[in-house]
Amino acid sequence: MKTKKNARHVRAFWLFITPCLLLFGIFFIIPLFLSVGFAFTDYDGWKTMNFIGLRNFKELLVDNKFYSALTRTFFYTLFSLPFKVIVPLLVAYLVTSKKVLGKGFARTLAFVPSLLSALVVGITINWMFSTEYGLVNFLLSVMGITPMEWALNSYLATFVISFASNWASTGFFMVIFIGGLNNIPKDVYEAAAIDGSRGVRTFLKITVPMLAPTTFLVTLLATVNLLKEFALVQGITQGGPGLKTTYIIQFIFDKGFSQMQYGYASATSLVAMIIFGFVAFVQFKVSKGGEQ
C-alpha cells in the first residue's frame, strides 16, 4: 500500500516538474552546451563552422575592449548594488509600517515599474533625461540651473542607467523584503520594546539581522541582474558616450549579432559566465548564504 502511494507521489512529482524541466532544457541547458561548443569554432551564425581550438580564448586574452567592458561592468555593479538592496528594503519597511497611511497604494506605485519591459523603461528614461528635449533638463532650466549633458558625461550616463535599473527593480525586491519582514516574529519586537528599544535602533539591531537570508537573496539576484544589464543600456545610451557604458553583455551581443562572430562571442560569454559564477560563489562564502 505504501509502495503504491510512493509510486503515485513519484509520478506526480515528475508530472509537475516535466514542463519546467523541458523549458529549462530547451532554453537553457541545450543553448549552454551549444555555446560551449561554438566557443571552439569560428562559427559565423550560418555556414562557416570550423574547429579552431583555443584561438578565440587566446584572442580574448589580449583584447583590450573585453577587459574594458568587464571592468566597466564591475564598476557599474558596485556602484548600483547598494541602491538595489537598500532602497527596496527601506520602501518595504515603510509600506509594512503601521504608522504609514495608504500602504496598498504606495506598494502598487512602487511595484508598477517592475511590470514594465526594459524597452519601455528605456524609452521613459530617455524622455526624462534627454539632453535636448528631456523633462529633467527642462525643469532644471526653469529653475535657472544649467541643463546637464547626461549623454556626454560617462558618470552621468552611468548614473542614468543605474537610476533606471533601480527604478525598474525596486518593486520586485520590495515584495521579497515584505515577505521577509512578515516572517519576523512579532514577539521579538515586543521583547525589544519591553527592553526599551525603539525606531532606528530596533531596525538596525533586530530587523536587519533577522532579514539576513532575504538580504542575501536580494543581493545575489541584484548582482546577477546588474552584471548582465543589457536592454536598458541599449535603450538609453547604446553603450556611449564613446564606449563608456558598453558593458560585457553589449560586447558579447555586438560580437555575435552585429559582427557575426558567434564563436568569439560564445568564448567571451563562457569566460564571463565563469567569472560571474565565481562572484556568486564568493558572495555565498562571505555571507554564508545569509544563514548567520
Binding site: 535636448e132 549623454a151 550616463a157 545610451t237 556611449g240 558616450p241 564613446g242 563608456k244 552585429s258
Partner: protein, 426 residues
C-alpha cells in the same frame, strides 16, 4: 443524452478536420487562384510610403494579396539566416546588405532583367557584386548623402546658399556653421546622422580612402595622414558647433528631429529623407544644397535599398512577377513620383511641379556624377564584410575624446588588416 453529445463532438471534430484539409489543399494547390506575396521591409511603412503603395497597387491589379513583415535592417542580418534555415523566407526582401552578404541565397535577377534598364551607378552600388555580372538585388530606392539647410537661419545670419556651380569648401562649411550658430538663431550650426557614410563624405573630400587597390589586392589606408587630419577636424567641429552626443554615441536622439524642429543650420543626411521633410516640415523654410568640395574635388556617397528574391522562397515566381510589374515604365514612374527620389532606371525621371522641389531635385541630381573613384574602390573591397561597427566605434571614441584620432584610426586599421589579410599602408 450522453450519446448525443458524443456524436455532436465527433461530428464537430470531423468538420474542423475537413475544413482544415480543404484550406490546406487550397494553399498548396492554388496555382490558378490569387496568391500571397510575403514582403520583408526594414521599417513600418508611413502614410504615403512609395513602395507599400506600389505593392498595394500591384495587389489590386493582379488580385493577389500582400503580406508585409517589418524587420529592421540590423535585425535582418540575424533573422535572415534563421528564416533560411527554417524554410520560412519571404518572397521579396527590401534590403541594403543581405544580397551582398549571402549572394548564394538569392535569385540571379540578370536572367529576368536587362542590366541596361538601370542606371549603371545605381545597380553597381545596390547590387554590390563587383566580380561578376550576376544581379542579386535590383535598385529600389537610390539615395545619395546630401546636405539640407535651414533657409530661415541662413537668411537671419546673412549667409548666401551655395550653388551647384559655386559650392562651399570644408572651410566655408565650418565658418558658416559657426556663423549660423552665432547669428542664425539655431542651437547647432551643423548636425550629421551618426552614419559612417556621412563622415566618409568629408574623408573623400580631403582625398582620403579606407583602402587602396594594388593590382588584384587591397591595402588598408584608413589611418593615412589625410584621414587622421579629417577626423581631428571632425572632433573639433563636434566640440564647437555640432550636437556632440549624436556622434559621441550617448543618445538615441535622431538629428533629423533637431533639423525639423529648427535647431540646426546645416544637416548632413540622405536624399531618402526628402519626402518626409517635404511632408512634415511646415513651420520653416528649407532646401537642399550641394555637398562641400575639397582638395580632391567633390564627393558623393551613393547608397540605397534593393529588392531581392530569395532562391528558396515559397512564391519566388510571384516575387519575380511583382518585380516585372514594378520595373515597368508606368509603374516605376508612379513609384518615383510618390517617392520624390532619384531614379535608378534609365529614361525615367521624376519631374516635380513644385518649383522648390524642382530646384532641390536638380541639386540632388548634380551630386550623382561626383562619385569619387576612392569610394568605388572602397566599396568594391567589401571591407564591411570584415568589420563595420568597429569603424564607427573608433570614430565615436575619438569624438568623445577617449582616444586621439590617430589612435582610433590606427587601431581600426590594424583590426581590418588582421581580419582581411590586407597589408597596412601606414
Amino acid at each position: 443524452m450522453k450519446k448525443f453529445f458524443s456524436a455532436l463532438l465527433l461530428s464537430s471534430i470531423s468538420a474542423v478536420l475537413l475544413l482544415g484539409m480543404v484550406s490546406c489543399s487550397k494553399e498548396t494547390s492554388g496555382s490558378t487562384g490569387p496568391k500571397e506575396l510575403k514582403v520583408m521591409l526594414s521599417e513600418e511603412p508611413s502614410t504615403g510610403d512609395a513602395l507599400s503603395e506600389a505593392l498595394n497597387r500591384w495587389a489590386e491589379a493582379t488580385g493577389n494579396t500582400v503580406n508585409i513583415m517589418v524587420i529592421p535592417y540590423d535585425d535582418q542580418l540575424t533573422k535572415f539566416p534563421l528564416m533560411a534555415k527554417n524554410n520560412d523566407l519571404p518572397d521579396v526582401i527590401a534590403t541594403t546588405r543581405l544580397s551582398m552578404l549571402y549572394p548564394d541565397e538569392f535569385l540571379d535577377l540578370s536572367e529576368y532583367f536587362d542590366r541596361a534598364l538601370f542606371e549603371q551607378s545605381a545597380i553597381d552600388m545596390i547590387n554590390q557584386i563587383w566580380d561578376s555580372d550576376d544581379i542579386y538585388a535590383l535598385p529600389q530606392q537610390f539615395t545619395i548623402t546630401n546636405v539640407y539647410y535651414n533657409a530661415d537661419a541662413f537668411e537671419k545670419a546673412g549667409i548666401a546658399v551655395p550653388t551647384v556651380d559655386n559650392p562651399w569648401t570644408l572651410e566655408d562649411l565650418a565658418k558658416n556653421a559657426k556663423l549660423l550658430q552665432e547669428k542664425g538663431g539655431v542651437k547647432y550650426g551643423m548636425a550629421m546622422d551618426a552614419s559612417r557614410a556621412r563622415y566618409d563624405n568629408l574623408m573623400y573630400v580631403n582625398g582620403g580612402s579606407l583602402v587602396e587597390k594594388n593590382g588584384a589586392k587591397f591595402s588598408v589606408t584608413v589611418n593615412s595622414p589625410e584621414n587622421i587630419n579629417t577626423l581631428a577636424e571632425f572632433v573639433e567641429w563636434n566640440n564647437e558647433f555640432m550636437p556632440k552626443a549624436i556622434w559621441a554615441g550617448g543618445t538615441n536622439d535622431n538629428p533629423a528631429d533637431y533639423f525639423k524642429n529648427g535647431n540646426v543650420g546645416v544637416y548632413f543626411s540622405g536624399s531618402w529623407n526628402y519626402n518626409t521633410f517635404y511632408t512634415q516640415i511646415k513651420d520653416m523654410n528649407w532646401g537642399v544644397m550641394p555637398s562641400p568640395v575639397g582638395p580632391n574635388g567633390g564627393s558623393s556617397i551613393l547608397g540605397g535599398s534593393g529588392l531581392a528574391v530569395p532562391t528558396n522562397a515559397e512564391n519566388a515566381e510571384l516575387g519575380i512577377e511583382f518585380l516585372k510589374w514594378f520595373y515597368s515604365e508606368d509603374n516605376f514612374q508612379e513609384y518615383l513620383n510618390t517617392d520624390k527620389g532619384l531614379s535608378s532606371m534609365v529614361g525615367i525621371t521624376y519631374s516635380p511641379e513644385d518649383p522648390k522641389v524642382k530646384e532641390d531635385y536638380r541639386v540632388l541630381q548634380s551630386e550623382v556624377p561626383k562619385l569619387p573613384n576612392a569610394f568605388v574602390v572602397d566599396e568594391s573591397s567589401m571591407w564591411r564584410n570584415y568589420y563595420d561597427n568597429e569603424y564607427r566605434d573608433a570614430l565615436k571614441q575619438a569624438v568623445n575624446g577617449d582616444i586621439t584620432p590617430k589612435a582610433a584610426l590606427d587601431g581600426f586599421a590594424l583590426l581590418l588588416s588582421k581580419k582581411s589579410g590586407w597589408a597596412l599602408e601606414y
